[in-house]
Symmetry: none
Subunit: 226 residues, 2 copies
């Protein structure tokens, strides 16, 4: 997922960036309200936006209000150091979807982010993204940049399997488990064949390389799409 973090405390911002990156997300960080507003309005699309309430320049409240005024419905998770009801009400009024008081544990944050993404996904779920490569498994569509790409059912399933966890290696056996019904009766090399076919469709014509081989393990989707 693409996540925007607007947070002026550098230590916290950095640890959020690391933690979320380690979870396989693409993270942009802004250290003040001006940059945060710019990215929120034009840097996206993001799947989730984390906003600190107190910031140099426009605060989280203002950023969220502006986003909603522009018709942007990206889920917003508000972070704040205070814990009064006053703040919570304000944040939610501004159009925030959830609210977290500092200090918080990273595990809790990750859970809230998943929950937000899940709820948002209800209306337009299932689109996977890695750089300029977009996959809509339900609608059976795949695009690189502005060009549509035709995929067969198996190709699409394998690609989805990889794009569900961009940046992480997926074992060949795991792909078999997820894509084939009777994985035990099937030659694992079949995965190589489909990866080869996918590369010919989504990489070669664009001079890219988004599906990387992890020797002895399986494959990995380049988070930036190659």
């Amino acid at each position: 997922m693409r996540i925007l973090v607007v947070e002026d405390e550098e230590g916290l911002a950095e640890s959020l960036r690391r933690g979320l990156s380690a979870d396989g997300h693409l993270v942009d960080v802004a250290h003040d309200g001006h940059r945060g507003l710019d990215l929120a309005l034009a840097g996206g699309p993001y799947d989730v936006v984390l906003l600190d309430l107190m910031l140099p320049g426009p605060g989280g409240h203002a950023i969220c209000t502006r986003m909603r005024a522009h018709g942007d419905t990206t889920p917003v998770l508000m972070l704040t150091a205070k814990d009064g009801e006053h703040d919570e009400a304000e944040g939610l009024d501004a159009g925030a979807d959830d609210y977290l008081t500092k200090p918080f544990s990273f595990v809790v944050l990750a859970a809230r982010i998943r929950a937000l993404a899940r709820r948002a996904g209800a209306s337009g779920r299932g689109t996977l993204q890695a750089g300029d490569l977009v996959l809509d498994p339900r609608g059976r569509r795949c695009r690189r940049g502005d060009r549509d790409i035709e995929l067969t059912a198996r190709e699409l399933a394998v690609l989805a399997c990889l794009m569900e966890q961009p940046g992480r290696a997926v074992a060949k056996q795991d792909i078999l488990d997820e894509v084939w019904d009777t994985p035990q009766h099937i030659d694992p090399n079949i995965v190589e064949v489909y990866v080869s076919s996918l590369r010919k469709k989504i990489d070669a014509p664009f001079g890219r390389r988004s599906i990387l081989t992890v020797h002895g393990t399986g494959y990995r989707m380049a988070p930036d799409g190659g």
Copy 2:
């Protein structure tokens, strides 16, 4: 793993309990919706929850919805006797992660459970850290700061062995035992070779020194990453 099974057909419930236990999991079983809901909300934490859709009392749909409303993101696998699209959409809307129609083979079920647990476990657990050095053994990823580092399978295994106990010296023989299958038939110097290779990748390019030699014993990971 801890697994919750909510299933009212006693025969099926029992065979699931036996099969999953045989796979090494800890299994709790509920035979109706009320007990299932109680366990799901308070009996955990579970790694995976299996929900039958049709139950005495609250159905799987309701249980899943309640779990999500409580912020619980435990992976849910929905079981159902029907096979209409209607059911699938309902289950996924409720926040289920996957969906299996009866009858199903146990092998398929086990594979789906593995896939769910893997996806969930991907975020957070299992990542090792020492300063700005981060290792994700499952996803086969390694980062120093904001730069990705490519490691071979052996390199990664040796590094994981050291990072599991940052600051503590690990005997060369212990590394052999953990990383190699037949440690007795192998030249112990091989460990030195891989440490050397690791230092070239994770230390030298950054001017750091995170893998320290403990003369006469083995090696030690600098807790701060060097």
